[in-house]
């Protein structure tokens, strides 16, 4: 259904930067590219609010279309070495925890060249058993299999030894922990009727088989699902007892002088390199972001933090649907001109009757601002959600969303093209949760005219409104905030968030708090904000890591013992569980979620306090606020937040208004409850509500929060002339006025 897709080398750029644009067509042999400024991306014909503005750019024009290759699946690659290709007798081994042994042939450790049948390949064969292959260099092979499937999600020591003198190949699998379960240990020996050709030109690949893709691009195939730990290569044929002893030994080259390589995955956790702790330094790297900082075969449970016991976290979990960088070739580049105003832009790609937007954010040059207000685009959250497939792949998706599965063209495309990877809401093909989500690949929801209207497209309700009301703004992003901290925000008198700033790294959180404490202002025009701590990596830019520890709306369970993030060693999960709830940052935090009906706000006594006078100018005393809007008919809905002094809402916070009108299907979130009970829904539970709050900071700053994702969807109502628009504008106009706010009783 999709005929053209693409992505850019960055989501955030500034004048002088170069954006590379990668495009792939499915069918059409030509496409057209143009630059547009995105003003409002919601193209619902009943609303008539869609706005984009075509802008001249040197790259605009026609290009030849082509189908660019994407291969998902993570693995380790080690450059070929004479130390591997010159082996006579040898042993290769690793601890193996297969999560889909039934899947068919999967590579474990292979220096195999299929074209010539040379090298070796330790694999899981079609029957799920450990197997080892050798070749004669001219198409002849011998393969020995244990003939017994490995047990799913259990550790085994898998070894293969070639004894040149005996012309014999032995392969074995040793099941660890047979106390309660039948052992799957097995071994087999076969004769090798030729002198193996070890001169593979391929790199040594772990968790897959080496492969050469079209155009000579090196890569891999036959991806393994599961964990590997302590892969080792030894220049002698070890018997089973010696092989087992070596496998348990943390310093194998001290035990056996013939050790060629002893890779230690517990080294450089958080990086892309794979360290050989043995005597030859045959280092390599991981490809496509397998999961590191995972429990090893020897995990004892005494430590939950990999930094405290790295030797027990020496495994890597590989998945056949991991994807970091699609690595497409660039079709054209765009140098951001000095006079391009800050804003949300897109390269609009068109082929036949289809189109795709490669969206990016242009910020002002570092250290400068061109407006008093910054729109902080929630790019960490956009990444977390990128290519989400949960709604149509989860059994309870329909009853969660209160809908009949309805797939948009972009979603059908993702369903039919598994190679574009998953979001942090999804589950890998082996049932484990997805922890990484990258922007270095086509992301189907990342632009205007996408549905469901969420993330960037929902946030353009705010952009369209700012334009309509003549409020000048710059655009900055989460990635900029992560990299530059408070210095980025201090260029501005005020910051306005998007509808859903859910994911925050620690530098983002600290930067925002410091900004507000020093006199900055924030209008949080969204809901479900500041919920999850995530991480970004300098070593692997363009991706967020998330561990959904403990609690919250997790969509999937997190693996016990793996709550500490790989990128930075921080404990993952809800900010609330880290002792810093969103209520302490912005006054409110998430209490309920529901999608079938949205509510509206009723003014509270505090809204008549003189401190809040500017917010309600032009609003009637009894006026119901936001009983209209794009998201289920109201301004309070989808995901809503409330104040809670116990969780840190500052004591001088004014609770200006509270929402009503929520349905039975708008239910308290897991973070808020200690047990399920029979009054979870908004039809009965008084805690299901959004609070609109305001407080000042001693530094002259202020924070206004609406606590609802639906709020910006009400801004365009009635030609942007309505009380949601009015309240929002009252707040922003005052927030960009540099006159300091005073604390009450100050």
């Amino acid at each position: 259904m999709k005929k053209i897709i693409g992505y850019g080398s960055a989501w955030t750029v500034m004048p002088g930067d170069t954006l590379n644009v990668m495009v792939s067509t499915y069918g059409p042999d030509r496409f057209r590219a143009n630059l547009v400024r995105v003003i409002c991306g919601n193209d619902d014909p009943d609303l008539d609010i869609y706005r984009e503005e075509e802008i001249a750019a040197p790259f605009a024009g026609e290009y030849p279309g082509r189908d660019q290759l994407t291969v998902a699946g993570s693995y380790v690659t080690i450059p070929s070495s004479p130390l591997m290709t010159g082996l006579g007798s040898f042993t290769v081994q690793a601890w193996v925890f297969p999560t889909t042994p039934e899947k068919g042939a999967q590579g474990l450790i292979a220096n195999w060249d299929d074209a010539t049948a040379s090298g070796f390949a330790l694999t899981i064969d079609d029957s799920g058993a450990a197997a080892m292959r050798l070749g004669d260099g001219s198409g002849g092979t011998v393969e020995v299999t244990t003939g017994k499937s490995l047990a799913k999600r259990r550790w085994h020591l898998v070894s293969a030894a070639y004894d040149a003198a005996a012309a014999a190949l032995t392969v074995s699998q040793d099941f660890i922990g047979p106390q309660f379960e039948a052992s799957t240990s097995a071994s087999a020996t076969g004769a090798v009727g030729f002198t193996p050709a070890m001169g593979s030109a391929q790199p040594l690949i772990m968790a897959a088989m080496p492969a050469t893709h079209p155009a000579g691009r090196p890569g891999a195939s036959h991806f393994f699902n599961g964990k590997l730990d302590r892969p080792r290569l030894v220049g002698s044929a070890l018997n089973l007892a010696d092989s087992a002893a070596l496998g348990w030994d943390a310093l194998p080259h001290e035990r056996d002088t013939s050790v060629v390589a002893a890779w230690d995955f517990s080294r450089d956790i958080g990086g892309a390199t794979v360290i050989d702790a043995g005597p030859n330094g045959l280092h390599g790297r991981v490809v496509n972001l397998p999961s590191r900082a995972v429990k090893g075969f020897n995990w004892s449970g005494t430590e939950q933090n990999w930094r405290h016991a790295p030797q027990e976290y020496g495994a890597i979990h590989f998945h056949d649907d991991d994807l970091y960088d699609a690595e497409w070739d660039t079709d054209f580049s765009y140098e951001i001109p000095a006079d391009l105003r800050s804003g949300v832009y897109a390269v609009r790609l068109r082929a036949d009757d289809d189109e795709w937007y490669v969206t990016f954010f242009v910020r002002p040059p570092r250290g400068t601002a061109t407006a008093k207000l910054a729109f902080l685009a929630s790019t960490a959250t956009y990444m977390a959600y990128s290519n989400i497939q949960w709604t149509w792949q989860e059994h309870f998706g329909e009853v969660a969303e209160c809908y009949w599965t309805t797939m948009e063209p972009g979603e059908v495309f993702l369903q039919e093209h598994a190679e574009y990877g998953l979001s942090t809401y999804d589950t890998h093909s082996d049932g484990s949760g997805v922890r990484y989500a990258s922007r270095l690949r086509p992301v189907s929801q990342m632009g205007p005219k996408t549905a469901p209207v969420w993330n960037i497209n929902a946030d353009t309700h705010i952009l369209g409104w700012l334009e309509e009301r003549g409020i000048e703004y710059d655009v900055i992003t989460d990635e900029d905030l992560h990299n530059e901290g408070v210095a980025l925000l201090e260029q501005y008198s005020a910051v306005v968030t998007g509808a859903h700033p859910e994911y925050y790294t620690t530098p983002m959180w600290d930067g925002l708090r410091t900004y507000l404490a020093r006199g900055g202002r924030m209008a949080y025009l969204g809901g479900n904000g500041f919920i999850w701590r995530c991480a970004m990596s300098d070593a692997m830019p363009g991706v967020i890591e998330l561990r959904r520890a403990e609690d919250g709306i997790r969509y999937r369970d997190e693996e016990p013992g793996e709550y500490y993030m790989e990128f930075n060693g921080e404990y993952g999960g809800l900010w609330r569980r880290l002792g810093m709830a969103p209520q302490a940052l912005c006054g409110v935090g998430t209490v309920a979620v529901g999608f079938d009906v949205s509510g509206y706000y009723i003014r509270k006594e505090a809204s008549f306090d003189a401190r809040a006078g500017f917010i309600f100018e032009g609003i009637g005393d009894d006026e119901v606020i936001g009983n209209f809007g794009f998201f289920a008919g109201g301004a309070s809905g989808t995901e809503i937040d409330a104040a809670d002094p116990m969780l840190g809402t500052p004591p001088h916070t004014l609770i200006l208004a509270t929402s009503e009108g929520h349905s039975a299907n708008t239910m308290i979130v897991p973070d808020e409850i200690g047990l399920n009970h029979s009054a979870m829904g908004g039809d009965q539970n008084p805690d299901v509500r959004a609070d609109m709050t305001f407080f000042e900071t001693p530094g002259g700053g202020a924070v206004f929060s609406v606590g609802s994702i639906a709020w910006p969807g009400s801004l365009p109502h009635n030609g942007y002339d309505n009380n949601v628009s009015r309240v929002s504008e009252n707040v922003l106009r005052r927030f960009v006025d540099d006159a300091p706010f005073a604390m009450p009783d100050g």
Partner: protein, 99 residues
């Protein structure tokens, strides 16, 4: 577990009146029952032309597989598509075709 009484055709009428919900407690039970059918047996809606056309389809069992479209079940109104999905699933669950 709640099972649908196929003689309660009044609930089909009630759904037709307000397919977008919220529904009465009884109809909400029916709707949830139909939404909890096994994934691989579900008939779903695909937006085949943005804001203009919706086609019913069968969800494939695995990722990467193509959807199977019902080219005779094409709608120019989203709620008309949901009413058809409701009826198809009702029949699948109760064994009784709604009128």
């Amino acid at each position: 577990m709640y099972e649908i009484d196929p003689s309660r055709t009044d609930l089909i009428e009630e759904f037709d009146q307000n397919p977008g919900g919220p529904h009465s407690p009884e109809l909400a039970l029916v709707v949830n029952r139909l939404r909890l059918m096994p994934m691989e047996e579900r008939i779903i809606i695909v937006c085949t032309k943005r804001h203009v056309e919706w086609t019913l389809a069968k969800m494939p069992k695995v990722r990467g597989a193509k959807l199977e479209y019902y080219d005779d079940l094409v709608f120019d109104d989203y709620y008309a598509a949901t009413k058809k999905v409701f009826r198809i699933r009702w029949q699948a669950v109760t064994g009784v075709a709604p009128a």
